[in-house]
């Protein structure tokens, strides 16, 4: 790892001011630090935002749950309010990484990183989330742009993520046996007006599977998607799973999610 300057910002304004073209915000550091250690990334300045109190915490209203950007996975997993309102989101957090990762990793960090196999982006899509930054509000459907790519501008900081409370929902993942990231993760959420089937791991970027949501909108049961075969032509293929296998897993995990709803 190359040397860098460490800054601990006391508020959002200071964090924003410290930011430059050669800096990165540091929350849990679960991706940033290993990337720097492996020489895949290097920064002149790391701006630690963990000590900005305003960025952490879970707030529940009648229609939505807002989670601060530096809220740790373990806090999301253990939140009593969340277990009552969106239990699937708490259980998603409980399935991220291992205890060490959950004790440091943050929801904002995961979303800003937009790893194609990360769990949280699927929750944002399924739960019609709004990403609050220090500059604006971005709808989840416009936030995730591509592999490790988001709508965030340089120096823009996620403050919180606001999730719409669904009628029912479930997240099911088929983990990579080595890394335990999602080979495919499917987040099914039934809202009053719509049904989302958000898929992570299958393609370079999280997406809402229109075929599955349409089928489930007509008939919210596993039989509606039982024999569906998805187009695998733009799905990921690597040593862990072929595109064809991933396409099949999307349907299987969607069925499991509907069952669990």
């Amino acid at each position: 790892m190359k040397n860098f300057n460490y800054h601990s910002a006391k508020d959002i304004k200071e964090a924003s001011k410290l930011s430059s073209s050669n800096s990165a915000f540091l929350a849990g550091g679960m991706t940033t630090i290993p990337s720097m250690k492996l020489g895949l990334a290097s920064y002149k300045d790391l701006i630690d935002i963990k000590n900005i109190k305003k960025l952490s915490g879970i707030k529940v209203s009648s229609k939505s749950v807002t989670i601060g950007a530096t809220t740790k996975h373990v806090e999301v997993a253990n939140s009593k309010e969340l277990k009552k309102t969106i239990p699937s989101l708490a259980s998603l957090a409980e399935g991220i990484g291992d205890p060490q990762v959950r004790n440091r990793g943050t929801i904002g960090g995961s979303i800003a990183n937009n790893d194609p196999s990360a769990d949280y982006p699927s929750a944002c899509i399924a739960l019609n989330a709004t990403i609050h930054t220090n500059d604006r509000k971005i709808e989840a459907s416009k936030f995730f742009k591509g592999m490790f790519e988001t709508a965030l501008k340089k120096g823009e900081l996620i403050e919180a993520i606001e999730f719409q409370i669904p009628e029912k929902s479930s997240y099911q993942k088929h983990p990579n046996p080595a890394s335990r990231y999602a080979i495919v993760g499917v987040y099914v959420a039934k809202h009053k007006k719509d049904i989302n089937v958000a898929v992570t791991g299958a393609k370079p970027c999280v997406y809402n599977d229109k075929d599955l949501s349409k089928a489930l909108s007509n008939n919210f049961s596993t039989s509606a998607i039982q024999n569906m075969e998805l187009d695998s032509s733009d799905m990921n293929s690597d040593i862990h799973a072929s595109a064809e296998y991933r396409a099949s897993l999307v349907v299987t995990q969607a069925k499991k999610a509907v069952d669990a709803c």
């Binding site: 190359k2 040397n3 492996l38 088929h174 046996p177 080595a178 890394s179 990231y181 040593i239 862990h240 799973a241 072929s242 296998y245 099949s248 897993l249 299987t252």
Partner: protein, 792 residues
């Protein structure tokens, strides 16, 4: 005094390890030490056109940068194969030179070309990035099966063929196959594995310019052997000027048998720069440059009668050696493999033919089980297939071909001294509730799941090995072991062993043995190992040899102590040594109440006199002191055996395989410490099941390792396993005084075929390769659903 052998004595090493008081190589720091970073080839095969260190040399903190040219100039030797194998046609094997730093050509990704030594680790890393190497990239050879058709990697080694070896009689096999009712044949791949010891390799080399002595701290399973190789073949230093210390070592599994490039380079360079040099592998270096294991492609056939008698067996294997042949590289696919190829069965005619090939991949060498897992996988997959094709129950078919009398002279090499394979099978069946399987299968079926049951019976030849036998077969050294037992004047005992503990619990097991032999409380016994300056020579720990060879050396040294004690007692108590008996730490004169404790004898041996009397307790001519050394050369291998049974449940929608039940019934002879043996069985099973279901080292066609981190290489985790159901039968080994057999490798040997037989059973007999990943199994499940699909 109650015997300690056979009891669950708590591990003496636990307090140290569990409270962070272990002392591993990277825990050791020396004054004024420097740090080494190795510059490694990013290409699998390339010529080094130019290596420019000028920029790097100017980098801050750089002490020295050394390359293949300097090491060649100093005539430092390369890494070697420890076993010379002869081909079927009588020609000697062909091995390339393996210089510690490559000078002209690199042969796998990770092959080191230079070492950067700097004042700090960070400065060494920064400077290493500035070493510029101009490579001419050549086409890599990476496939085991096709290696003989690829470009010639090493000049003068046609077809990349190291040797083409035969064990057995082709003609007899041909005749046996002609008599067969049926021939069962199979094509299998034994997947390549990466050992992944918890502690990465490390070394710290120090040079004393006054004594001209090099001290090398290193993560070795066999420090004495490393010193011998570095001195005799590496030309690093005369043996008496080289001290090798292997302190606490965090796992080896065979990967730390070899002397590695870094050991030689750091030792040589420390003398050159007259400073200590420390190197600690990063995990990615471990993946790339530790030896790998297995990697065989095999076609095997079994000739059978319709009623299930085995008549003949043949095995044609291509074994991948990787880029270079290392210490156990050439013996692993030959003498550790071929003799075990016929398994636990009476098969009158057999041969194994092994072609060992070089490829542009990391060197392949001994990994837990070394050769025996590959052999067992072949025969046990074949027997399971025979049971399906003949329609004979898998356990009945096996028992039908078990030997019933021991010693059992096998067709190929070994005479197995002891065993009872039928008893092992019966007990395993009972433990696994084999007869109740059908009900469990139906229950799985009712949930939409596929269930399978797999069996394998194994034996293995370990406790290596009789020196005359192995040296006649090409081994470069004898495989005896030594021990020294030293009493202090006040009665405590230090046992020096040439074996090395890197997880095996020698501190406890060996102390139990010595405590029983000498009648000394276990807390008064220390086991010392891992330092060539302490104790006599030893060949190290691998091949499940520590107890059956090293442990017996301890027993024999203890017996010498007791003999001396009898002589001294006889003198002190005015009796004859023949009339002195030794029991529970006391020397007793027969038919009398006269006795001396062993502590009194030790005291007398070290303080042989009394005030005011000109009198010695020692017989005339007896040396003072109480210390004995024994070298033990075994008369045979040790042959543990057993039957394992696994049940899996498969979700046909995802292909996920869940290991539901695992039963291991092993015969390890006399067990010294059942708790430690359970730990060894668990560890072996985890690695064996890992091979069957998860682990796979994969290279792409350019020779890049695709599974070079834990993100991509699936190490099994605790939640992948059911609770293991472990039991034993016990027939004592007749070839050593303790009656013990090896236990460390059994799990890794028996588990792969057991689990795969269960998976394949669930898939209706469809062959799939290891590891049985969810996707492979999912594809096979799709075939099952198709109407008229037949087991392929």
């Amino acid at each position: 005094m109650a015997s300690l052998v056979g009891s669950r004595v708590e591990r003496k090493e636990d307090k140290r390890f569990l409270t962070g008081k272990g002392r591993y190589t990277s825990d050791i720091n020396l004054a004024n030490q420097t740090y080494a970073i190795f510059v490694r080839s990013p290409h699998a095969r390339a010529q080094i056109k130019k290596l420019d260190i000028s920029k790097a040399q100017k980098s801050s903190g750089v002490v020295s940068i050394l390359t293949g040219s300097e090491i060649a100039e100093d005539k430092i030797g390369g890494l070697i194969a420890g076993w010379a194998i002869r081909s079927e046609d009588g020609t000697e094997m062909k091995c390339p030179a393996n210089p510690p730093l490559a000078k002209d050509i690199v042969n796998f990704v990770g092959d080191p070309v230079a070492v950067v030594i700097a004042e700090s680790l960070e400065e060494a890393k920064v400077a290493a990035e500035k070493v510029s190497v101009d490579y001419k990239v050549l086409k890599a050879v990476t496939s085991t099966a096709d290696a003989m058709n690829g470009d010639t990697i090493h000049e003068g080694i046609d077809k990349n063929l190291c040797f083409d070896w035969l064990l057995g009689d082709r003609q007899k096999v041909k005749e046996a196959f002609e008599k067969a009712d049926k021939v069962i044949s199979i094509d299998i791949i034994n997947n390549r594995l990466i050992p992944n010891a918890m502690e990465p390799r490390a070394c710290l080399a120090d040079y004393n310019s006054a004594s001209e002595e090099i001290t090398l701290y290193t993560t070795s399973q066999n420090p004495h052997l490393s010193r011998l190789i570095m001195s005799a073949f590496g030309n690093v230093s005369p043996e008496h000027k080289l001290r090798v210390v292997a302190p606490d070592v965090g796992g080896g599994f065979g990967s730390k048998i070899n002397v590695y490039n870094e050991d030689i380079v750091c030792s040589w360079a420390a003398k050159k720069i007259n400073r200590a040099i420390k190197w600690v592998a990063e995990r990615s270096e471990s993946f790339l440059t530790d030896i790998h294991g297995r990697d065989h492609v095999t076609h095997a056939e079994l000739a059978v009668t319709n009623d299930g008698k085995f008549l003949g067996f043949k095995n044609e294997t291509i074994a991948n050696l990787g880029a270079y042949a290392r210490v156990f590289g050439t013996v692993t696919p030959t003498y550790l493999f071929g003799p075990c190829a016929t398994g636990v069965y009476e098969i009158p005619a057999a041969y194994s033919n092994v072609k060992a090939v070089f490829t542009n991949t990391a060197p392949v060498d001994a990994y837990r089980g070394a050769g025996r897992p590959e052999a067992t996988y072949t025969i046990e997959r074949l027997v399971e297939k025979a049971s399906m094709e003949l329609g004979i129950d898998k356990t009945e078919l096996r028992m039908k071909n078990f030997p019933t009398a021991f010693p059992f002279k096998q067709t190929l090499v070994h005479t197995v001294d002891s065993g009872d394979y039928v008893a092992g099978m019966e007990k395993a069946k009972q433990m696994a509730d084999y007869n109740g399987y059908e009900a469990r299968r139906k229950e799985s079926e009712s949930k939409g799941k596929l269930r399978g049951i797999g069996v394998s019976s194994y034996f293995e030849a370990c406790g290596i090995a009789p020196s005359a036998a192995v040296m006649s077969l090409g081994c470069g050294v004898g495989l005896w072991e030594s021990a020294e037992v030293r009493f202090n004047p006040t009665g405590q005992v230090t046992v020096y062993t040439g074996s090395h503990s890197h997880g095996q619990s020698h501190q406890t097991t060996f102390a139990q043995i010595a405590a029983d032999e000498l009648g000394v409380p276990i807390e008064n016994i220390d086991i010392v190992h891992g330092d060539t300056d302490k104790g006599t020579f030893g060949m190290g720990t691998y091949g499940s040899r520590s107890l059956t060879v090293g442990g017996i050396a301890i027993v024999n040294a203890c017996k010498k102590i007791v003999e001396k004690g009898k002589r001294v007692t006889a003198k002190m108590l005015e009796s004859s040594p023949d009339d002195v008996e030794f029991k529970d730490g006391e020397f007793i004169v027969a038919k009398s109440n006269k006795k001396k404790t062993i502590g009194e004898i030790a005291f007398a041996c070290y303080l042989p006199g009394v005030r005011d009397e000109m009198k010695s307790p020692l017989p005339e001519g007896e040396e003072p002191g109480l210390k004995e050394t024994a070298f033990f050369d075994p008369s045979n291998f040790s042959f543990p055996a057993g039957t394992h049974i696994a049940e899996v449940e498969i979700d046909p929608e995802t292909g996920e395989v869940k290991l539901e039940k695992y039963t291991a019934c092993d015969d390890f002879g006399r067990i010294i410490n059942p708790m430690i043996v359970e730990g060894q069985v668990h560890g072996g099973l985890a690695q064996g099941i890992g091979q069957a279901l998860y682990e796979n080292a994969e290279y792409d066609e350019t020779g890049q390792l695709m599974t070079g981190s834990y993100m991509d290489y699936t190490m099994p985790r605790a939640d992948n396993f059911p609770e293991f159901n472990i039991g034993y039968t016990c027939t004592h080994a007749t070839t050593n005084p303790l009656g013990v057999k090896g236990c460390g490798e059994a799990g890794a040997i028996a588990a792969p075929p057991t689990v795969m037989n269960a998976v394949i059973d669930a898939l209706g007999g469809q062959e799939i390769t290891m590891p049985a990943t969810a996707e492979k199994v999912w594809k096979a499940c799709k075939n099952l659903k198709k109407p008229n699909s037949k087991a392929a």
